[in-house]
């Protein structure tokens, strides 16, 4: 099926291109290692591109996966489900935070409607890849019928292909919109890592203590339906999902506690990796999508760049499980790809560094040895 194809079609990163990049970067006119994380990023870009990139990642797309969650009816969010559609309206109208940020970093914004409850009027920036009008309530039953998962992943392929057709891009930033989707993300992260519900559930849009307690209870109840995580031991966090779980455990997790936008974004990540396009991950929800993508095809994670560490407490846990280190730490907790957008200039800077800087030899600058 679809997952098997991805496992076969997503290439591992190019290790020899990475080694050559490391060597070139060490010869550039700067002390070895002095550009820290930007150097690591440049090496990753070279490993993805199979050599020094031929461009500076100036063609940028931002894709926001949108979907509603049945569990919103249990009062786990500070906002009603209707806000998902209203915020999507803002994204396509250009009035939201992500639009301001996208203009700051010169990127195009698209929204993929994977599962918004309210029917949305057509808009050139809105991709209709609808899989359902909100998931079922994960507190009570499977959020997505297991048989639909292939369709939802394929909706991710469709979203990727559609924006690529409108305007080619060299890098893709992913974000999310969906009232109550931190509840789904928390359950996904707990299921993949074995972390207790209390450590993965946060305040999302800013809920009070009563809602927080309800959200934790909901996540616990949902996790009880997933084999092997029904009795998580506090303090034990499993390492990367693909090593600790059977190949198709992702299906159970995605079906029981997933979201249309989360599974759809997993499909987008896998499609981007197959196309060797770097994928910039926003916050907690996109990290949950990456856990699913990584369980389907582990090599896909090599194409992922973690933009930032959000305020949501489970995010750091999810990034650890993904083996990714965030670039930024700006105390963000919004979603919408806001953090991912802010990381895009760092990618251009890393690419230009390895492409455009001269080596000591090329520039005729004295090296360390000359000081001895």
């Amino acid at each position: 099926m679809i997952a098997q194809c991805w496992r076969e079609e997503i290439a591992p990163l190019d290790a020899s291109a990475a080694a050559a990049a490391r060597e070139r970067i060490d010869a550039l006119t700067k002390p070895v290692g002095s550009l820290g994380r930007i150097e690591e990023l440049a090496v990753q870009l070279c490993a993805i591109a199979g050599g020094v990139p031929t461009h500076a990642y100036e063609r940028r797309a931002i894709l926001i996966g949108a979907g509603d969650h049945g569990v919103a009816e249990d009062g786990v969010s500070a906002y009603p489900s209707e806000v998902t559609a209203q915020m999507v309206g803002g994204f396509v109208a250009g009035t939201a935070a992500i639009n301001a940020f996208a203009r700051a970093v010169r990127a195009d914004v698209y929204v993929a409607n994977f599962g918004v409850k309210t029917p949305l009027p057509p808009h050139p920036r809105l991709l209709d890849v609808l899989c359902g009008y909100a998931t079922a309530n994960l507190a009570r039953r499977a959020a997505i019928p297991r048989g639909d998962l292939g369709y939802v992943l394929a909706a991710g392929i469709a979203a990727f292909d559609e924006i690529a057709e409108r305007a080619p891009f060299d890098v893709l930033a992913l974000g999310d919109m969906g009232i109550a989707n931190t509840t789904s993300a928390a359950a996904i992260v707990a299921a993949f890592t074995g972390a207790p519900a209390e450590t993965v559930v946060g305040r999302g849009t800013g809920i009070d203590d009563a809602r927080l307690a309800r959200k934790i209870a909901v996540v616990k109840r949902a996790l009880a339906r997933i084999e092997d995580v029904s009795a998580p031991r506090p303090g034990t966090v499993r390492s990367t999902p693909q090593r600790t779980r059977g190949a198709d455990v992702w299906e159970q997790i995605a079906s029981e506690v997933g979201g249309y936008e989360i599974v759809g974004l997993a499909g987008v990540i896998l499609t981007a990796a197959r196309a060797r396009i770097p994928v910039v991950l926003d916050g907690y929800i996109v990290a949950a999508a990456a856990l699913i993508a990584g369980a389907i095809a582990p090599h896909a994670l090599g194409y992922c760049i973690a933009a930032h560490r959000s305020r949501e407490p489970g995010h750091a846990l999810a990034l650890d499980a993904l083996g990714l280190r965030p670039l930024l730490d700006l105390d963000l907790a919004l979603g919408e790809a806001s953090g991912a957008a802010l990381a895009l200039p760092l990618i251009e800077a890393a690419a230009r560094m390895v492409r455009e800087m001269r080596t000591f030899a090329e520039a005729g600058v004295a090296t360390k040895e000359d000081a001895r």
Copy 2:
């Protein structure tokens, strides 16, 4: 004298503009506080501008202050003094790290020659504000004659005015180039904060243990000449310089252990603050310049934005003393304004957020209360 004028002419930040900005940001279509550090940055920009900025800080100048240090002869750096002039050659030719980064963030790069040892050929990007061909060796005597300090600060004014004349800018990023200048910066930070030499001296361009020990000894010897810090007690760090030291202690510190580019950059910071232009500080050396600027005119620090926390261990200490929290933490240790450049898109994002986002009322989006 010049310092007194600055104290009078640099206005405090506009507190009512800051309060109005805070109120507007809380009404925008996002959970309150969900954009974290970007919200703080937007409030600061409004406080500097005296209201919501009328632009998005797209006109950007990067100024690198360059100078040589007599103390380089004592082997405190891994590179010879000649590298300063060679690197400046790279900056104006466009082949260095800062040029790659500047292209990534659409900024103009200028170099102010405050004190490079080697005579430099004229270049349109090079500002001739020479104060001397390298400072005296601070390990043995005052680095800059006290009577010259006013001239060096005025060279900072000249550098600011000259780049403003070439192309107007809305934000100014500052960086440095000068072999051995982390030795001078370390001594300045120790003198202002009272921190022991061991805590402010780092490996700079990547020196070995022997050079590190020499560098610490040099800083200790220099500090012994400065009253009141000759016997620093480990663990005691004084708070902001202006509160703990007499108004003109900066003169003694700048003269004994300063650098032409460091004092010159202090002059640039003060000039930018007087013009109400936000100043983005790069790493350790520019932080040392800001300590001098803050000692001359405390209000100047309100116009400063700390771009990043560098790998140099004393930098965090200096930022604490300045009361500034860095935006980025990318493990950089280069200088050249490399970190400051990378922060410029965040400033545009913050400005666009407060300028361009709609409020809940304007956008017709349901608020938290609707969920109750």
